[in-house]
């Protein structure tokens, strides 16, 4: 019998072509342009085409750049850590302790709804809470805990981590909630039946089975924080600027597009690496748990 070629799926191609063209024009080509720029040389007042790695070398040798990069990673790690610390007990409480489905939905929405409010507004809110004329200071002075308003609450890394945790915590809650909800209740009952008290059940059954959700939440939260540049402007202060702010300034006032491009490419590589690692962990998790 003659081997038949599978028929060409024109309809499928047609459906796929629009997003493909979109991705090529608005993602692939711009990234290629930035990649190209990252090898260029700055020649005041503009830049010249070249193929050299000077911009990358500068990032790793000039403390001005690698320290911002490290700080950004530390802030992202802190935000991820605190989000997890708050989101996990919350999601656990929702899934395992709240009996009423209506109350559960309400509490879940209370976390998710802020996502529908403008990001700027949410970040700005913290400015009005933490500022020296802000709500928190007014309260502390009024209650007599402070004699005069303090300015330690705003424009530092503390306010950054606080604001970013607030902004990105829904992305931690959602996957953890989903993972916890998928754990069959009879596993919890079985563990209890086998003589393990509630805390042991949490550690030995619920936590390991919710790890995929934790991993997904941590990845999203870390990557979103890593690329944030608005919170640093609103609540960050002098030692709160992050890598995205540096990139913005390279394209703006510093007028060094090649260096900005190199930084952007580096960021892209870091984020892709994190997603790749997380993906592999997820897969190995799935293989071991089926």
């Amino acid at each position: 019998m003659k081997a038949r070629k599978p028929p060409v799926n024109y309809l499928g191609l047609a459906v796929l072509s629009a997003p493909l063209v979109w991705a090529i024009i608005f993602m692939f080509i711009p990234y290629m342009i930035i990649l190209t720029y990252s090898f260029w040389i700055k020649k005041y007042p503009t830049f010249e085409p070249a193929f050299q790695f000077g911009n990358y070398v500068q990032i790793f040798t000039d403390p001005q750049y690698y320290q911002v990069l490290l700080r950004t990673m530390r802030i992202a790690a802190l935000v991820t850590f605190f989000s997890l610390l708050l989101a996990y007990p919350f999601a656990y409480y929702l899934v395992f302790k709240v009996r009423s489905a209506r109350l559960r939905l309400f509490l879940y929405m209370a976390v998710i709804l802020p996502l529908w409010v403008s990001y700027l507004l949410r970040a700005y809110t913290w400015k009005t809470i933490l500022g020296s004329q802000g709500v928190l200071n007014s309260f502390l002075v009024w209650s007599g805990l402070l004699s005069a308003p303090t300015d330690v609450l705003l424009y530092n890394q503390f306010s950054m981590v606080l604001t970013l945790t607030y902004i990105f915590i829904p992305f931690m809650v959602m996957p953890i909630y989903t993972a916890l909800e998928k754990i069959p209740r009879n596993l919890v009952e079985a563990a209890s039946d086998l003589g393990v008290p509630p805390l042991g059940v949490l550690i030995k059954v619920i936590w390991p089975l919710s790890l995929p959700g934790v991993l997904a939440g941590a990845t999203i939260t870390f990557c979103l924080t890593f690329g944030d540049f608005i919170a640093p402007i609103l609540v960050g202060g002098p030692d709160g600027s992050m890598i995205s702010n540096v990139i913005t300034s390279q394209y703006g006032t510093a007028l060094n597009w090649p260096l900005g491009s190199a930084l952007a490419i580096l960021m892209l590589v870091i984020v892709l690496a994190i997603i790749e690692v997380s993906d592999r962990l997820q897969k190995s998790e799935r293989i071991s748990t089926g």
């Binding site: 009879n186 009952e189 079985a190 209890s192 039946d193 003589g195 393990v196 008290p197």
Partner: protein, 363 residues
Amino acid sequence: MKSIIEIDNVSRTFGGKVVAVDNVQLDVAEGEFVTLLGPSGCGKTTLLRMLAGFEMPDQGAVRLDGKDVTFLPPYRRDVNMVFQDYALFPHLTAAKNVAFGLERQKLDRAEIAKQVESALQLVGLSAMAERMPHQLSGGQRQRVALARAIVRRPRVLLLDEPLSALDANLREAMQVELKHLHNKLGITFIMVTHDQTEALVMSDRIVVMHRGRIAQAGTPSDLYDRPASTYVASFVGTSNILEGTIVSMSDGIVFQQEGLTLRCPRLPGFSKGQRAVAAIRPERLRIVAAGAQGVNVIACTVEERLFHGNSVRLRCRLASGDVFLCDRQLNGSRDLGTLPDAGQAVHFAADPDSIALFQEDSR
């Protein structure tokens, strides 16, 4: 015999409306194999879950070995459960699943390993110790669940529809295996099932439940031969249920339905003129010649002949319009030729002592 479990007037209501368990009183002797039997929603699972500690009764007490455990959490009860869909921990190997319940007990590693090994051996799964649950078949998972529960040497083993997820052949093999295991271990088994065959085969005693109450409790043959109600008569095994009137009380009780008169043994509590229900097992009927005279001849028309291999079921229609079943053993399929075919009239005779008479239809 000493009672290991005393269920004392226990009730459980859900959401203030649905009465799942209604005033149940039951003692289970040490080493007994008791089955809670009933259709879904009869309260059997809720009762079992109260023994495990997953549900608390609204009223009454549960005692284990004389000690009140009514409000004791599951992890402090000396009972273990085999769950309906096994509830194996998907992130642990078979051996670690079995070891899970031992890690709380103060045992050293070598001792745990030894007990896990012997429990897996008992259920014939030594070779599968390092497999993950998703690498095991349904029957193997069932065995792991069993090993995980018995390795803790509980006073009572609870089994929640343990065989319902298995296919028919495996289920039959596991019925026998569970029974052997029960004899070998000597611990008390309490099983929940909706499968009456399973209950009849495996149990020392069956507790038939109906709408949260115990309809009847007794040995399998007790229940089969002397059902206490039409509900039990039709749930345990098959029965032809006929409604009619008591027309005479002389010479036994005479029960009459349109075109049908049955003479039954004398029983207390019946009076002439009252409505009553008669139940006859399909296999207790004899086929008699047309026009045969005598008591308890039932005339009907065969509608269908259902071949079961070793037996055949005649599905007939009575003059009253009711369906009437008769089972005949076959000694080879040649016997089929001697039986009436669809569309033919047939006459059955039922001995008086094969008829159970009840006050009302409680199905």
